[in-house]
């Protein structure tokens, strides 16, 4: 297991270095269109071939990976923090705050936030830079994606509130804050790590779908989500495996992160 973890760490590091380094190099221009070689297979000039507009797939993959690797985990971390705040804390405190939080979370899970996202798009200037648009998109995903883990955290925190070691600590005069941070939080880690693994790829894919609302990463900047959207059509089914590189990269990165951070529960 340790060897596997090390290998996974190496893989993630290599991908991160390659994407950051490659995307900063002028040799990998994600926007340049080679219009005489569209949807071409791998060649000396284009190692992974070109997309439908003749743009180098490898360059776009490097830029996309860099952007998604930075913003998606940040958004996932934000959703985890919000889940803690709206789930774990009220669950631990109990009473009115827990009941109020439950109602908020239920509404959060079921209201169509599509319209809020449309309002956000309307509020943004049309000439917003692609980087700003991407950042705001992932920020919105983080702000809206905490409902499910909040519910589960709430249930767990409520159970921990009634557990013996917490009762003992409380009886010993430990403050609620100290209890929460030192004794309860470590026991919430399984749910938090689960949320992270789900959120990173989910947010990457969701960002691509938000382009239907005018949010998301705008052209010519690529994202992993926008590259994956190209797979959502029968036209992507062809012998050219380079079409699936973005999917492969996402799977490798997510799997590697899972292996790296997978630990036994600490009581």
């Amino acid at each position: 297991m340790k060897a596997l973890r090390t290998a996974a760490l190496v893989v993630v590091t290599v991908i991160a270095i390659a994407s950051f380094g490659g995307s900063l190099s002028p040799a990998f221009d994600a926007a340049r269109q080679d219009r005489d070689h569209v949807s071409a297979g791998p060649s000396a000039d284009h190692w992974l071939g070109t997309d439908a507009l003749g743009r180098d797939r490898l360059a776009r993959l490097l830029h996309a990976t860099r952007l998604s690797l930075v913003l998606a985990p940040a958004a996932a971390a934000l959703s985890v923090l919000l889940a803690l705040f709206f789930g774990a804390v009220p669950g631990f405190l109990g009473g009115t705050s827990e009941r109020a939080a439950k109602a908020v979370v239920d509404v959060m899970l079921s209201v169509p936030w599509l319209f809020l996202l449309l309002m956000v798009r309307a509020a943004l200037p049309l000439n917003c830079s692609p980087a700003v648009s991407a950042t705001i998109t992932f920020l919105m995903l983080g702000l809206l994606g905490w409902g499910v883990p909040a519910r589960v955290l709430m249930a767990r925190a409520r159970k921990l509130r009634q557990s013996e070691f917490v009762l003992l600590a409380r009886g010993s005069g430990v403050s609620p804050g100290h209890l929460l941070c030192v004794h309860v939080m470590p026991n919430l880690r399984p749910v938090l790590t689960a949320q992270l693994w789900i959120a990173v790829p989910a947010f990457i894919l969701a960002e691509a779908n938000l382009s239907l609302l005018g949010l998301g990463v705008q052209e010519p900047l690529p994202s992993l989500g926008s590259l994956l959207r190209e797979l959502e059509t029968v036209l992507s089914i062809r012998a050219d495996l380079c079409n699936f590189c973005a999917l492969l990269v996402l799977i490798v990165v997510v799997s590697s992160l899972q292996i790296v951070f997978c630990k036994q529960e600490v009581p």
Binding site: A122, R189, P190, S255
Partner: protein, 288 residues
């Protein structure tokens, strides 16, 4: 008496939550950009009078609060209003589609839960870290698949829609389930039970599951919200004529009567599912 009081309190909270949630949905839909816009406005053959008549179709919906109050009142009489986009009573639209969606959600949820539980149990019984890791990696792989690609794959294989839903829900369920069980494995009572030589199956059923009962019920409740959320893109992409497809089309068309009713339905189901889960978790504590 106390039990009735507690029940009445819970019901009131549920009703208020549903009403507040659906008012929020209606408000968001009403004030989202594009409300009142119709693609017919781009038809060059229409006269200015016709264009004005088009704009006037949403006149009744200018004040969201009064519109919402009126539509709730009508809902109590069984009238769910008229869809602008489809020109048909909303009640008819929902009645035609709700069975399709319920079947798909039911089958999809069941498939997702069965798969998740079976894999977690298999990982537990095998005791193999490699098997557990492989299951997690498999779940991670499914998470990385775009919903559109999953839908496409199913269409190619002539597969049923609920499989797409299960594929979308399963990887959002499995990590929680797996981590909860793994966390409980190292708890003192579980370690003691293992040391006493109790069979793995018995430990799982009698020591692990009861310890995470509350979280499981909470997860069951939210999995309903996950399934409903997943039903919308799956139905839209697979062309399944269910409530999810209707919701997506209505959202794109800003069809407020349909959106208000569908949101009400979705919020009611979500709140009831989560409240039911809470009730089961706290069955010995019915006092507010």
């Amino acid at each position: 008496m106390r039990i009735w009081k507690a029940l009445a309190y819970r019901v009131t909270v549920i009703v208020l939550t549903v009403l507040a949630g659906s008012l929020l949905s209606a408000t968001l839909a009403r004030y989202a950009p594009g409300f009142g816009a119709d693609e017919q406005q781009l038809d060059a053959r229409l006269s200015s009078d016709s264009l004005q008549a088009l704009r006037n179709t949403t006149q009744n919906e200018s004040s969201v609060v009064s519109y919402y109050a009126a539509s709730m009142g009508q809902m109590l009489k069984g009238d769910l209003g008229m869809s602008h986009a489809l020109q048909r009573p909303v009640r008819e639209l929902l009645a035609e589609r709700v069975t399709t969606t319920l079947r798909m959600i039911g089958a999809g949820l069941m498939a997702a839960w069965v798969a998740a539980v079976l894999l977690v149990v298999a990982a537990w019984l095998s005791g193999s870290q490699i098997f557990g890791t492989a299951c997690s990696l498999g779940s991670g792989f499914l998470l990385c698949l775009p919903a559109g690609a999953v839908a496409l794959l199913l269409i190619l294989m002539n597969g049923p829609g609920y499989v797409a839903l299960a594929i979308v829900v399963f990887p959002r369920l499995f990590p929680y389930l797996s981590d909860l069980v793994r966390a409980t494995a190292s708890m003192p009572h579980t370690v003691t039970a293992k040391a006493c030589g109790i069979a793995e199956v018995r430990i799982l059923l009698w020591h692990v599951v009861p310890a995470i009962r509350r979280e499981l019920l909470a997860l069951a409740g939210v999995s309903m919200a996950l399934a409903i959320g997943a039903a919308i893109p799956v139905e839209a992409l697979c062309g399944i004529p269910g409530v999810g497809q209707l919701a997506w089309q209505s959202a794109l068309a800003r069809d407020l009567p349909v959106l208000t009713n569908v949101s009400f339905l979705v919020i009611a189901v979500t709140v009831l599912a989560n409240s039911g889960a809470d009730l089961l978790a706290d069955e010995r504590r019915l006092a507010p």
